[in-house]
Amino acid sequence: MRIKDQWNEQRIFGSRTFAALVIMGLLSLTLLGKLLYLQVIRHDYYLELSQGNRVRQDPIPASRGLILDRRGRVLVDNEPAFQLELIPEQTPDLADTLRRLAELKLLDPEDIAPLKRIIRSRRVFDSVPIKLRLTDEEIGRFAVHRHQFQGVDLRARQTRHYPYGELGVHALGYVAAVSEDDLDRIDRPGYAGTTLIGKLGVEAAYETQLHGLNGYQQILVNAQGRSVKFQGAFQPELAAQAPVPGTDLVLALDLPTQQAAESALGDHRGAIVAIDPANGGVLALVSHPGFDPALFGRGLTRPEYATLVNNEDKPLLNRALRGTYPSGSTIKPLMALAGLTYNAIDPERRQFCNGEFHLPGSRHLYREGKGGKHGEVNLVDAVARSCDVYFYGLAAQLGVDRIASFAAQFGIGALTGIDISGEKPGLLPTPAWKKQVFKRPQDQVWFPGETVNFGVGQGYLLVTPLQLAHYTAMLAERGRGFQPRVVAGTRDASGRIVRSNPVAGSATNGISEASWALVLRGMIGATTYGTAAALGKDARYTIAGKTGTAQVFTVAQNARYNANTVAERLRDHSWFIAFAPAESPRIAVAVLVENGGFGASVAAPIARRVLDAYLLDAAAPAPAAAAPTTPPGATQ
């Protein structure tokens, strides 16, 4: 064994120990530095991250506001129903889970792709509704297989309930599952927990008010996302915010009037709009055929949707707002007012009607719509008996520009500004319009004959039933118009109804009181001795009305229109507009029956039932001045 240098070894070992202690010290300081950084400098940041880890906000959906009729009768409310919801983070194999749900017939296989997209765009740990409103049978089917579907559960949620079914569906609208498009539009955090969103009508237009503010409840979750009560040995305090329920809406709509209107229209395709002329409130709005709004609330199956879309009666089309038709003779009171205002006619001068009209220098024949001859008629008679020949001449005399600018004062060709979306402006034709729309130069010319047709509401002119109701209300109010509105106010939590102020709309100017009086006489004449004489019989109030028949199919020059020989869909549309009581109008109504034929025979009796329902309703205030006055000059 070699001799070891003890002293040298001691020295080496001592210096190495010292070096080791120094290095240890440095490493400890490095570690301490890192800990200071994490626990002191970045403490707030990490505290927030840990808070985000452990606490999740579980949304509490606000209950959707109710929709009530003008007297507070419930038209739309909520009812609890079970729906299937899925939390993607807790679902081990999303694609497989959805596929197996489809196998159980709880999902439509074609819905899987859009559902996946919605799931992707939702926030972490949001519960995504995958099937709304399960039937008892479906609940049972899922319950049996529940253990196979981790992350999927049944939850009781409020869904929309329409106690009257299809009633007023085109006014009330419907709700349906929040779609991908909706997600791009809405305030997403505010809709966390919301399943249904308004899609049409009042439900869509007043979505913000009806929806309310969702609340939340913080819940403690563990790393697996499961809700737990305790954090170790402690139960931490968790914040909560109660939801603010949606506002109850009070409509202008009158339930009995709406019911009467729907039953009066029966199986006809058509539309009815009734307006309170004093404020524009929509008393009834019917478009038939309609559909069951509840279908959308529970999720439409593909065949059901196809049936709705492919139905040639177009149940999804809101005819009241979006159906455009020639006005037919309902335009005549407006023409008469124009003639008087522009001093184009002497109202008392009698003209002879032999059933035919020629423009000077033209051989084209303009026939009396219904055939026949009226003999000698003055202005009031011409309105009451709807003499086409009289108005052919008047229109030719006024010229298209004056007619168009006068009609525009009544909102023809423009949106009425109703508070539900989707309305169409129709078409108020002018030479300028024609020039813009037609391509070939020879088509761009405005022909004098087109002005003649304009006089009786045929040709290019197109109106919606809503526009005609609005126009009728303006006739009733002698030129004062309001924007039609379905919603009249709100009801607060204490049950107090707050009515909103009517919004003034278009108004006429320069029409004399005498002119209004003459036209009113003509319209009362229509329901007493004129085209709709049958209507006014035994009415307990005076009705001012006007029939209209809108041609769908142009009859050849020398032929006669025969309803029996023309295919049903090519038959004329039947119109009737009216307001009552004529002296102090409380309701203005426009009725359209598609392919109904002559206005007086189909549309007028329907209008009468609507007027009766509203004016004779026991609950309604008694109609003012019940004694009908016979207008002078109306006697025969």
């Binding site: 070992f13 190495r16 490493l27 570690l31 301490l32 002191v40 403490h43 990490y46 840990s50 452990r54």
Partner: protein, 378 residues
């Protein structure tokens, strides 16, 4: 005054009785107190981290008991006996490692354990003691600082078991065994120029070695460099442990009230990541107390090593003491994001494994080497 004196002498009598008992058992009082405090700390934290599991506490107490027995037993052995034991322990260790690797190779899976009847036994743990023992024993008979040819032998002695352990694969233990062996050489006075040269060579080897790493090991290093690159996958551990430590702040969220630990966000919270639980529940203050406790234990152990007699005793003792610090630093470093994640538990605090027994056995050796100093001098 009389009463006070009596009391004082009573205390003194108790104290001297304990001192005599320790001396008879060849144990070191201050080191024992340090380890005892650490054990109490460990039980407190494990109770919280395990979700108040009494079973965990009982098992830890059993391991501590077993470790204490090993410590007392080894404290009785003389340096000469240990030197004689070194080649045997080393040889048996290598054979067992080969057996484990063979079983792992046949079974095509990671294999670290041997089932020996009642207990599962981890041969790599032997190497934590056997490697510094054989290295210190080798240098004991040679001149310090080590010469080149001796270095080559030492490198072989250290790298063979390190390679076998790394192949299991168990990177954490391989690193610790490598550290234990290398620390012997460093304490033996390896010249600084050589250390620098080897460090450069080491970096070169690391670049080459990258190709031999398992995918999951490479991934760990990548994640260490950028934990956010895979926040829900492999980076999850580091992110969650940093959230736990950082959210603890100065004073912590309170015992058994750490949301990261109690709500399962922190993975492996009672084993490798228990350091984060302490950081979350006891805050920076708790971690500093823990680190001071560790530094006290290491310092005392180094002191014992410097007071020991003979090259073997000093090299082995200081290597065991410093390896303990390496243990602490690697675990705390990986949990707090200073170092990549390698599976190294926090010594004596992490739950489970045979490391408690090996560590206490190491301290037993240290105390034995110290208490046998006079015998050799005389």
């Amino acid at each position: 005054m009389m009463v006070d004196d009596n009391r004082d002498s009573a205390a003194r009598r108790t104290f001297s009785l304990a001192a005599r008992l320790l001396s008879a058992l060849k144990l070191d009082g201050p080191l024992l107190v340090g380890l005892g405090l650490l054990a109490v700390y460990a039980l407190l934290v494990q109770y919280s981290a395990s979700g108040r599991s009494l079973e965990t506490i009982v098992r830890t107490l059993m391991r501590l008991g077993l470790g204490t027995v090993a410590m007392i037993a080894l404290a009785q052995s003389s340096p000469n006996f240990l030197r004689g034991l070194a080649p045997w322990l080393y040889g048996i260790g290598i054979v067992l490692l080969l057996v484990v690797d063979a079983i792992g190779y046949v079974g095509k899976s990671a294999q670290r354990w041997l089932d020996v009847g009642l207990i599962r036994f981890q041969p790599s743990e032997i190497m934590k003691i056997a490697v510094p023992m054989i290295a210190a024993s080798f240098m004991h008979e040679r001149r310090l600082p080590p010469e080149w040819r001796h270095l080559l032998v030492l490198a072989g002695l250290i790298l063979l078991p390190v390679a076998l352990i790394a192949m299991q694969p168990d990177l954490g233990t391989a690193v610790l065994v490598f550290a234990a062996g290398t620390l012997v050489i460093l304490m033996a006075g390896l010249q600084w120029q050589v250390i620098a040269g080897l460090a450069v060579a080491g970096v070169g080897a690391a670049v080459v070695g990258w190709n031999f790493l398992h995918d999951y090991q490479r991934q760990r290093i990548r994640i260490f460099l950028d934990p956010q690159s895979d926040p829900l996958g492999s980076g999850y551990h580091i992110i969650q442990s940093q959230i736990a430590i950082g959210s603890g702040g100065l004073f912590g969220k309170g015992w058994m009230n750490g949301s990261q630990a109690q709500l399962d966000f922190l993975p492996e919270r009672s084993t490798d990541f228990i350091f984060a639980v302490i950081g979350e529940e006891f805050g920076l203050l708790g971690l500093i107390v823990l680190l001071l406790l560790y530094l006290f234990i290491v310092s005392r152990a180094i002191f014992l090593a410097t007071q020991s007699t003979g090259t073997f005793a000093r090299l082995l003792g200081s290597s065991l003491a410093l390896t303990f610090f390496v243990y602490v630093f690697i675990n705390a470093g990986m949990v707090s994001g200073l170092l990549p994640v390698v599976g190294v538990p926090l010594p004596l605090i992490s739950y489970g494994g045979t490391s408690v027994v090996t560590l206490l056995a190491g301290f037993g050796i240290l105390m034995g080497l110290y208490s046998h100093r006079k015998l050799i001098n005389s």
